[in-house]
């Protein structure tokens, strides 16, 4: 699965492109194109999250040094200065460089701090990191976080376009947030008064960008301030009307019309998808990966 980092989000219309074409550009996201030629959005972790996870890692290193120092004192009480010196170096290096490197190798990109904040170190093209990446990040991290008290790391992360500190730059990685829950508002139900009109209307011609805008407005309508709610609904209705035939009843509230259009499109799309899957099921054997899907059984 090869990937390339994309410079722009998809759907950016070039010169002379369709002005109604959907331009989806995620907020502060970094798009990576996978081997399936799909642009995957891997948002870069924000600097405050990085700082917090870094502090947690430094805290962990401090605890390891303290506990290890105590154990070392017990074990090397009788030993010569050479042994004590060796053990000290090994303890400090192990706690500040070794522990993060091993953690990131074994978990493919997470340390304790990153685990706590839901971050993960990934390669520049979105893939998993290996031992060499982890050791490079940790070794350069020693210089920029411990020796120089975090100043170069902070400045580099603030200035770099993908929030890379020097260790990330030297290894070819960056830190991303990979976990995003699916927050989809429940779709607006069909207003009963307009069901008859919508069932017989042609609503298929609406461009997708408009239907996305209508759906998002309806989901948040209750939270929009009353002063702007009516104008927004009116504007959307004006944009929708050219694509709907016959026109809706004049007594209908704009938001009800919009909800009716969206609900009707949803019902028809659901019927279409189910019908297509049934037709497919009649020709092909049952889907081995989705045998219990109630929509396609």
């Amino acid at each position: 699965m090869t990937t390339t980092p994309a410079r722009h989000g998809p759907g950016v219309s070039g010169p002379g492109g369709d002005p109604m074409h959907i331009g989806y550009r995620g907020y502060a996201a970094s798009d990576v194109v996978t081997g399936e030629a799909v642009a995957v959005e891997l948002p870069v972790a924000g600097v405050p999250s990085r700082i917090l996870s870094g502090l947690l890692d430094v805290l962990l290193a401090g605890v390891v040094v303290l506990v290890g120092g105590f154990v070392m004192g017990l074990l090397t009480g009788e030993s010569s200065e050479a042994v004590v010196g060796t053990a000290t170096i090994l303890l400090v290096v192990g706690a500040t460089v070794g522990v993060p490197a091993v953690c990131e190798t074994v978990t493919r990109g997470r340390t304790l701090g990153k685990l706590a904040l839901g971050l993960r170190a990934v390669r520049d093209d979105g893939g998993p990191i290996t031992a060499r990446h982890a050791v490079t990040r940790a070794l350069v991290g020693w210089v920029e976080i411990y020796l120089l008290v975090g100043a170069p790391a902070l400045v580099a992360a603030l200035v770099s376009s993908r929030g890379k500190r020097f260790g990330d730059m030297a290894a070819g990685t960056y830190v991303a947030t990979l976990r995003a829950p699916l927050r989809l508002e429940p779709p607006p139900p069909m207003p009963p008064a307009l069901a008859a009109w919508a069932g017989a209307a042609d609503v298929a011609g609406m461009p997708s960008s408009l239907s996305v805008a209508v759906r998002q407005f309806l989901a948040r309508a209750a939270t929009v301030s009353p002063a702007s709610r009516a104008p927004l609904a009116g504007d959307l209705l004006t944009a929708v009307l050219p694509h709907v035939a016959p026109p809706p009843p004049a007594w209908a509230h704009p938001e009800d019309v919009l909800a009716a259009v969206v609900a009707e499109r949803r019902r028809r799309d659901l019927d279409r998808l189910v019908r297509e899957d049934r037709r497919r099921g009649g020709v092909l054997p049952p889907d081995p990966l989705d045998p219990l899907n109630p929509f396609t059984r």
Partner: protein, 331 residues
């Protein structure tokens, strides 16, 4: 296409993929299922992005695909073959490809050390301002020699090894910033030069060389390699050549850290010599010969094994599949 209808029909598959990705161990059938679902969910993401992109759905599916990719593409097995490959191809090729850098660093630093030693002989106030005449006599007469036999040989050898390995690793890591490497090299060279000058001024040049040369040849070579590699790392983002600065820095950074790991083994040899050979009772000629042989073996390792590996295209970086893919750029 309506987003809600699409989500309703396909949600079951997304939740199945979530469930599989959260599992600690996957059976063979489950791995096949994850691979199939990865391809299907990629299609779903593509359809959603082009037809009706809702930010929450796009982020969710992107995160799901990224995690699926980590699970399916992130497994690495380590074998003895990988270790032997590192020692016979990656490390020597990296050393060979950077030979001009650490060679120049070595020559410059040796000349500098000699100059510092000559200066110290001419200007004794360099050490007389810090040491009383009794301390100078103690240093020249006994302390310098006893340094090598103060502790048990194996303890001393380990101490020296760990210390040198860590200093070299730091010198390489500091290469990202550049100037600290010069400072580390300069400190090291000035120390050696002043010690040499001090010993020469008191007519102990033979003793000095007899104690330094057995382990010092290989150890100083390793330090100069670390310094040269660090400077090369600095240069990789100053003058990136046909690649972007970040690409160049990343490739050289990974290579440099590979060299840092390999130098640990080189310094193990020099540490063993310093711990066991230098303070031993062997005649001076034999000890120096051991040092010269170790150095010659290292140079043969670089210029024979390394040259062959570099000639067959090994760069010292990780394998292509691990380095990831980049957009090709015009030089």
């Amino acid at each position: 296409m309506d987003l809600d209808a699409y989500v309703a029909v396909h949600r079951g598959q997304w939740e199945r993929l979530e469930h599989l990705l959260a599992a600690r161990r996957l059976t063979g059938a489950e791995v096949d299922e994850v691979l199939d679902l990865y391809a299907r969910v990629s299609t779903h993401l593509s359809v959603v992005r082009s037809a009706s992109p809702d930010p929450s759905v796009v982020s969710y599916l992107s995160g799901l695909l990224a995690r699926a990719r980590l699970v399916t593409a992130g497994r690495r097995t380590s074998t003895w073959r990988d270790a032997s490959r590192f020692l016979t191809r990656t490390f020597p090729a990296a050393l060979y490809r950077m030979r001009w850098w650490w060679g120049t660093v070595a020559v410059v630093n040796v000349v500098l050390a000699v100059l510092v030693a000559a200066w110290t002989v001419r200007h004794p106030e360099v050490y007389t301002s810090a040491l009383t005449p009794e301390e100078v006599d103690a240093y020249v007469g006994t302390d310098f020699e006893n340094y090598y036999s103060e502790f048990a040989s194996h303890e001393f050898a380990t101490r020296v090894w760990v210390n040198n390995a860590w200093v070299s690793a730091q010198a390489i890591a500091m290469g990202v910033l550049g100037l600290p490497v010069l400072w580390v090299l300069a400190t090291n060279t000035v120390n050696v030069g002043v010690a040499g000058g001090l010993m020469a001024a008191n007519d102990r040049t033979g003793l000095f060389l007899g104690l330094i040369l057995p382990h010092g040849l290989l150890e100083l070579t390793a330090v100069f390699v670390a310094g040269g590699v660090g400077l090369r790392l600095f240069w990789s983002w100053v003058e990136p050549g046909p690649r972007t600065r970040l690409q160049s820095l990343a490739a050289e950074g990974r290579t440099a850290v590979g060299v840092a790991v390999g130098l640990v083994l080189v310094l193990l040899v020099s540490g063993a010599i310093e711990g066991f050979v230098t303070p031993s009772d062997l005649p001076t000629g034999v000890r120096i010969a051991i040092g010269v042989v170790a150095e010659a073996l290292f140079l043969a390792y670089v210029f024979v094994v390394g040259r062959a590996a570099a000639g067959s295209g090994v760069t010292g970086d990780v394998a292509d599949v691990d380095a990831g893919d980049t957009l090709p750029v015009a030089a």
